[in-house]
């Protein structure tokens, strides 16, 4: 379980996150939704120790982030994290060099699934394929938690479908996933839990199925209520 507790983060005087508290469970897909602002990405970065926080605590299975945690939790930002001059093969080699729990079999499987050639250079990839490689680099490590920043934004429909397919596959199963998005349509049926953020605070946290069953509301219905009402 990832526990984010009273997370506060200021940029200058502006509070980007103000006491954000939520949990994300292993085996669940948790979705951070915010229609604007930088809070979502900052939250993920804060979990990964990629940005210092002003207040609050973040625990991953009860532990603070440290170097060995990077074998337990991985982050897939919306920018490619490999050097443009690398081929996919070299990028995978790099990961293999540094991560004990790099799973080459799974990497190959993903590569086949995405129909990508390992000789391709990172710089030659389309936006959609870049996102897929990004996903590959994160998923091929045997981690317990995967954080993804806007995995669906700005890429073509077919790539979106392929990525969505990964979410329902064994590649995700049992792992805890946190994704951020500002656009829910594609993934409404994929997610277990929604955290609605705005102006640095959590407006609402709910389980999607529970919400449908008890109140008969879709995620968008709730968003509409929360953000507009």
């Amino acid at each position: 379980m990832i526990e984010v507790n009273q997370l506060t983060k200021k940029f200058g005087r502006k509070k980007v996150l103000d006491g954000v508290t939520f949990t994300a469970n292993k085996g669940e897909i948790t979705c951070l939704i915010g229609i604007n602002g930088v809070g979502k990405t900052t939250t993920l970065k804060a979990i990964m120790g990629l940005t210092p926080i002003n207040k609050g605590s973040i625990l991953i299975d009860g532990q603070k982030i440290n170097k060995s945690m990077y074998e337990k939790v991985t982050f897939i930002p919306d920018a490619i994290t490999m050097l443009p001059q690398m081929t996919i093969k070299q990028a995978m080699q790099f990961m293999r060099d540094f991560y004990k729990n790099w799973n080459q079999e799974r990497a190959t499987e993903l590569l086949t699934f995405f129909k990508l050639d390992e000789k391709t250079r990172i710089s030659e990839l389309s936006k959609g394929n870049t996102a897929k490689i990004n996903l590959l680099m994160g998923l091929a490590i045997d981690v317990d938690y995967i954080l993804m920043d806007e995995p669906f934004s700005g890429i073509d429909i077919f790539s979106r479908e392929q990525i969505a397919e990964v979410f329902t596959s064994h590649l995700i199963e049992d792992r805890g996933v946190i994704i951020t998005t500002h656009e829910i349509n594609d993934i409404e049926h994929l997610i277990d839990k929604v955290i609605l953020l705005d102006n640095g605070i959590v407006l609402k946290e709910f389980n999607t199925e529970q919400m449908r069953q008890e109140e008969g509301k879709s995620v968008i219905d709730v968003m509409r209520e929360v953000y507009q009402g």
Partner: protein
């Protein structure tokens, strides 16, 4: 340790193409310099001898001969050395900023490696040090070749003195600094150099951690480190401070150097593990 070595190797491979180009530029420029300078000297000598109807010894008496210092002071020779120095100083910045800039934020990957983040800091510093030593080694390696070429291009009588590598290195101001004659001086120079690399890295990390505010902090840190390191010199100029013996001044510099290096690494470690932003 293992991942530190991997990271050093990685940093070296990332720069190796530009680095090899620097070596090739140095090689070409210096060899061309040797050929151009010596052949133009010989041509001019023959011309003058012909015009003024001078014998070889007459010419030598009037105008003198040539030796390798005439080569090693040309832009052909010094230029690439200066270029390499500038390139390495510039790369000391780029080795960090290239991970942050552009649409590929490799910094994410590096900072998320399952290894102590200070390894990144050390690997980058080690890479800079190795590049520097590589350049020195390359210069020491090609110098005797250049000297042999030079001596074969100049007629025996026109050669003022034969010089060997160590003499060439000491006869030239820049080379004498870059490759000092004594090993202890070498250790001192490059120890100080290394200290400034650490100070610079920590300054850069200030900027990478606090951005706009960090620029100010970084510059202040750099200036403070330089002033602190040079403080024995100020103390020596100060009346109220008792005079120090050379060995005390040396010890003072040594202690300050270790202190500044240690502080830079400690602060750098704190910044890169706790404060740095991507």
């Amino acid at each position: 340790m293992k991942s530190y070595i991997k990271l050093v190797n990685f940093e070296i491979n990332r720069f190796i193409k530009i680095y090899v180009s620097l070596l090739v530029i140095t090689l070409l420029s210096q060899f061309i310099g040797v050929i151009v300078t010596s052949s133009s000297f010989m041509n001019r000598a023959h011309e003058v001898m012909f015009e003024q109807n001078l014998s070889e010894s007459g010419y030598l008496h009037k105008f003198g001969g040539i030796d390798f210092t005439d080569i090693s002071s040309t832009l052909w020779f010094i230029g690439p050395i200066a270029l390499c120095i500038v390139a390495l100083i510039f790369y000391s910045f780029m080795i960090w900023y290239r991970d942050w800039f552009g649409k590929n934020t490799f910094a994410y990957r590096l900072l998320m490696l399952p290894t102590a983040r200070i390894s990144l800091y050390f690997s980058k510093a080690s890479a800079i040090l190795l590049f520097t030593f590589g350049l020195l080694a390359f210069q020491i390696l090609i110098l005797p070749l250049e000297n042999t070429l030079f001596e074969s291009l100049i007629l025996e009588n026109f050669l003022k003195t034969r010089m060997d590598v160590s003499v060439i290195l000491q006869s030239n101001g820049i080379l004498g600094i870059v490759i000092p004659p004594y090993f202890s001086d070498f250790l001192i120079s490059y120890g100080i150099g290394m200290m400034f690399v650490f100070v610079l890295f920590t300054s850069i990390l200030f900027e990478r951690s606090f951005r706009l505010k960090g620029i100010v902090l970084g510059i202040l840190y750099f200036i403070a480190a330089v002033l602190l390191f040079l403080s024995p010199l100020f103390a020596m100029a100060n009346e109220t401070v008792p005079d120090l013996y050379p060995e005390e001044i040396f010890a003072l510099f040594l202690v300050l150097g270790i202190l500044i290096t240690g502080a830079s690494i400690a602060i750098g470690n704190w910044l890169i593990s706790k404060r740095v932003l991507v």
